[in-house]
């Protein structure tokens, strides 16, 4: 095994270590929401990003508009680990309400910058404290007393820059970008950063044990959140009808999509090549999507848990009447309203089988912002190819947090609308049977309303029908039809994005999906380093499962299925799909407290299960 730097990941680090820890630690900023801290945190994140150091940021905000505790965690990692880090190394404590708990919760030897009046240094003697009189500092910077509450937070960026050796010029650059359209705010906040920096330089003698040093790891990369990426994907997929009902954490997908569409999808006549409707609720939103999909638009909606429940009836219609639709589920913590501003992968099983009766749907599991973009495009292609609703299973962590990414790849295939018959086709064929399995793949042909041919029209219904779309209550028609539907979904196995394999053949496998991906990358290294366990990793990207999923499990002695929900919903889906004799191999690792999953928790869970022996 290769040697490696002594990093904070090593649980054996002592508080008396001699050298500084460089580019490998986590920062947590504790504030209240609605206080401008989001801008400050974004600037801090970008500053480190611009220093060329891999970085990630997680916003932990309350379900409330202003005045409640909020935390923002930034992780800098020279190894490129961008999952949430469980331990906090550097705390910025701005919130009186949570100050005590925040300070008590971090590990010995960490750093705490705090708002001086909170007097937090009295709480512990094993931390390095840097008190800052923010209110005193903000007054000269911000003459307008009403704005001080907001500007105050930008001060800590300057303080942190100094302590961590972040080049303040990078923060100023990030800030100008952030306030691109608000010149006055940019100026005010630049002054705040400088004031913080200057105060820290003038005041703090003790060297901070953590430091950011320039690297060159972020060449060509950009920063974007998953919802913006999905919005871009939808736009480049050629979406034409978008419906929505606001809900956290989904709203920002459509809100950003609207901005993009207004900018890039106005035709030469000055008019929109799209329609966006804020519907009265999610039933209406998905009803519009179904109507539009039926009439030939590329249509989509985006929602979260409660909206998914409300869409159940229509989604069953979409399945059974075979209408394309794309539904983004930006998952949050359920059941019910749950924790609307926390993350979870809790709707997997629900979406796979949404609606009463025998239904089954295509799901895609993006793990990165790149995949939010790519799978959005893929979702529209699959929805039209298979004439059925397709779910893109994103989550709050992926959707609302900022992530580093490579530039997105422009789609390399033209738009494919699937098996749609034109006037000319009908002319040639002399007619068609809407629900007939002509090609043996379970996928029938359709026509769009308005097709000018006397044989084009057919009647779509959620009730029984025969191959010719005529009303039928006959047993044989019913069985034929639902068997074909099952066949169609089976065909989809080969068309959903194939899973991604990492590793080269050990006995132990890990299966994960979506935003859990980043923790697994790190967990693999931890397992290898800490207990010399090499694990292969299969990242599932679509349902119904590709055959590689089965092969992966067949090829391993035991397979850990890692996910972010209480009930092990992906494990459940696997159980339903795999041959029974493979199921003994499956083990479950679940993380469901609403925080993004972290590698440490996964690694510990696997080590603990491994130590219980192979059964």
């Amino acid at each position: 095994m290769a040697t490696f730097d002594l990093t904070i990941e090593d649980r054996k680090t002592t508080s008396s270590e001699q050298h500084r820890i460089v580019n490998d630690f986590s920062i947590q900023v504790a504030t209240v929401n609605g206080s401008g801290s989001q801008s400050a945190n974004t600037v801090l994140l970008r500053s480190i990003f611009q220093m060329g150091v891999p970085v990630s940021g997680k916003n932990l905000f309350p379900s409330n508009i202003a005045g409640l505790p909020t935390w923002y965690t930034i992780r800098a990692s020279k190894q490129g680990y961008i999952a949430r880090k469980k331990e906090i190394d550097f705390l910025v404590a701005m919130n009186a309400e949570t100050g005590r708990e925040d300070v008590m919760g971090i590990r010995p030897g960490s750093v705490c910058v705090y708002d001086e009046p909170l007097k937090l240094s009295a709480l512990r003697d094993d931390l390095i404290f840097y008190p800052v009189p923010f209110d005193k500092l903000v007054a000269p910077v911000c003459p307008d007393a009403k704005l001080r509450r907001l500007v105050k937070n930008m001060l800590y960026v300057g303080v942190v820059d100094y302590l961590l050796d972040v080049d303040p010029a990078e923060s100023e650059k990030a800030l100008v970008k952030h306030f691109a359209k608000k010149k006055k705010a940019a100026e005010l906040n630049t002054a705040a950063i400088r004031a913080g920096y200057d105060y820290a330089r003038a005041t703090f003698e003790q060297q901070c044990p953590f430091s950011i040093e320039r690297m060159n790891k972020n060449q060509g990369k950009l920063i974007i959140d998953g919802n913006a990426a999905a919005a871009l994907g939808s736009m480049f997929a050629g979406v034409t009808v978008v419906t929505w009902y606001p809900i956290t954490p989904s709203s920002s997908l459509v809100e950003q999509l609207i901005d993009y569409l207004k900018k890039y999808r106005i035709g030469s006549d000055g008019k929109a090549t799209f329609a966006v409707v804020q519907a009265e609720d999610e039933l209406a939103a998905v009803g519009m999507v179904i109507g539009a999909g039926w009439a030939g638009a590329r249509s989509m909606t985006s929602t979260s848990g409660p909206g998914i429940s409300l869409m159940a009836e229509f989604v069953g219609l979409g399945y059974y009447a075979e209408v394309p639709a794309v539904i983004f589920d930006i998952q949050r913590v359920g059941p019910s309203t749950g924790l609307p501003t926390r993350t979870m992968q809790g709707d997997i099983l629900k979406c796979a089988f949404l609606s009463h009766g025998d239904t089954r749907h295509i799901l895609l599991f993006p793990a990165s912002v790149e995949e939010c973009f790519g799978f959005a495009i893929e979702a529209f292609e699959l929805a039209e190819k298979f004439q059925t609703p397709v779910f893109v299973m994103s989550d709050l962590d992926l959707g609302m947090n900022n992530w580093m990414a490579d530039p997105f790849t422009y789609p390399d295939k033209p738009i494919n609308r699937g098996k749609v018959l034109s006037e000319e086709d009908l002319q040639r064929l002399g007619g068609f049977a809407r629900y007939k399995d002509v090609d043996g793949d379970g996928i029938p042909y359709r026509t769009l309303p308005g097709t000018n041919h006397p044989q084009a029209g057919y009647f779509t219904r959620g009730s029984g029908h025969n191959e010719k779309a005529q009303y039928s209550e006959r047993q044989d028609d019913y069985v034929n039809n639902v068997d074909r539907l099952a066949r169609k979904l089976d065909t989809a196995r080969s068309f959903v994005p194939a899973p991604v394999l990492e590793g080269t053949g050990t006995q132990v496998g890990v299966i994960a999906y979506g935003s859990s991906h980043w923790a697994i990358l790190e967990t693999r290294d931890q397992l290898s380093r800490e207990v010399q366990l090499q694990v292969d990793y299969l990242r599932v990207r679509g349902y119904p499962f590709s055959k590689q999923v089965r092969e992966f499990i067949e090829g391993h002695d035991r397979v850990y299925v890692v996910e972010q929900n209480r009930d092990g919903q992906m494990l459940e889906l696997l159980k339903l799909d795999l041959p029974a004799e493979q199921l003994v191999k499956l083990r479950s690792v679940r993380h469901y407290n609403g925080l993004p999953i972290d590698a440490r928790s996964v690694t510990d869970a696997i080590i603990s299960q491994e130590s219980k022996g192979v059964n």
């Binding site: 990369k221 950009l222 920063i223 736009m235 480049f236 050629g238 979406v239 034409t240 009808v241 993009y260 890039y264 999808r265 035709g267 006549d269 008019k271 929109a272 090549t273 799209f274 329609a275 966006v276 409707v277 519907a279 009265e280 609720d281 039933l283 209406a284 009803g287 519009m288 999507v289 179904i290 109507g291 539009a292 039926w294 009439a295 030939g296 638009a297 590329r298 249509s299 009836e313 229509f314 219609l317 009447a321 530039p407 997105f408 422009y410 033209p414 738009i415 769009l448 309303p449 308005g450 000018n452 006397p454 084009a456 029209g457 057919y458 009647f459 779509t460 219904r461 959620g462 009730s463």
Partner: protein, 349 residues
């Protein structure tokens, strides 16, 4: 071509696009014999034929119920979508957004609209979507065997003796209040009035909300019902006499401007409302609402065109959509070029 003695096969009448009424027919009805809905089906066929609507260009939309089955019984050459109970408005909205060149024709029931569907109804009316929305209103849920719906009148009695004790929803009053721009009530038994109203609806570009009293012969046509043929014939009070001159008929019809108001429709046709017993201005929204509120208190069963407004922009106008249907836009119009993606990527660095 020599003169022969065989009687010529009578050429069936064609409309101005060259189709015969047969081209507008649908499947055989499976509704009860005598059901009001069947009469409405006939009038829809006649109206579409007489207006020369291209059947392939029609989208027939419905919810669930006996009434919602009707689209299967007219315009076989049109696409139809029998969706889910009470939620046809959202489906119709999606259809029209995808292809606003379609003639969208929704058929629903009073249960489908006023009970389970009232939420979507309210929001549909607000949007003034170009759509003909026909309620086949019998005051009961026919398909589930005759329970009261939310348009049943206070005190109406079922055959089982059950009395309705909740006030009815007046869908016309609601529609006017909320934003529909062509609002009328008719009776399935009144061939002429219903046909004329439907023809006018085909000429209107906005939401045409037409409540048609349509007796359910099986569950709500007895004494004690206020939606029976007999009750309605006895109580109906036409508000105005509805006339219609389609844009393609260049006939100068005589009318007395003192008693008849002419409303020019979007497609160039003319709606002519001749007053009957009272003065009434169907373009006055507040007046229309007051009229219906009062009629409701007095127990009057008014029919006719209550409100027409051809000025308010419809939902397609409001959305500033390009003229070509969204469903038909080519790839170059809906997928921005690679440079645009590069530009966006660059801005995020």
């Amino acid at each position: 071509m020599s003169a022969t003695t065989t009687t010529p096969v009578p050429t069936p009448k064609t409309n101005h696009i060259g189709l015969t009424v047969v081209d507008y027919r649908g499947g055989k009805t499976t509704l009860c014999a005598g059901c009001g809905h069947n009469a409405i089906t006939e009038r829809i066929i006649d109206a579409a034929f007489e207006m020369g609507i291209q059947p392939e260009n029609v989208a027939k939309l419905s919810g669930i119920g006996c009434s919602s089955k009707s689209p299967a019984y007219f315009l076989n050459r049109a696409h139809g979508f029998n969706s889910v109970h009470g939620r046809m408005p959202s489906v119709a909205t999606g259809v029209v957004l995808a292809n606003h060149k379609l003639v969208a024709l929704g058929v629903t029931g009073d249960g489908d609209t006023a009970s389970i569907g009232i939420g979507q109804f309210v929001h549909l009316m607000r949007r003034n979507l170009p759509l003909i929305y026909v309620i086949e209103d019998n005051g009961v849920y026919g398909l589930t065997k005759g329970q009261f719906s939310a348009t049943a009148d206070l005190g109406a009695k079922l055959k089982t003796g059950v009395v309705n004790d909740l006030p009815p929803i007046d869908t016309c009053l609601l529609a006017i209040q909320l934003g529909a721009t062509f609002v009328a009530r008719s009776f399935s038994g009144d061939k002429k009035q219903l046909l004329t109203i439907l023809k006018a609806a085909f000429a209107h570009r906005g939401t045409s909300m037409i409540d048609v009293i349509s007796p359910c012969v099986t569950f709500n046509d007895h004494d004690g019902s206020t939606k029976s043929y007999k009750y309605f014939k006895d109580h109906e009070e036409p508000l105005n006499d509805v006339g219609f001159v389609p844009y393609f008929e260049n006939i100068e019809v005589e009318y007395d401007p003192g008693t008849t108001t002419t409303v020019p429709m979007h497609d160039g046709s003319e709606l002519r409302l001749r007053k009957l017993d009272r003065e009434y201005d169907a373009t006055n929204k507040v007046g229309a609402m007051s009229l219906l509120a009062e009629a409701h208190e007095k127990g009057e069963m008014l029919t006719g065109v209550f409100y027409v407004n051809t000025r308010t922009p419809n939902f397609i106008d409001v959305l500033h959509m390009t003229d070509q249907p969204l469903a038909k836009l080519s790839e170059t119009l809906i997928r921005p070029p690679k440079e645009k993606l590069d530009e966006i990527m660059e801005s995020l660095r």
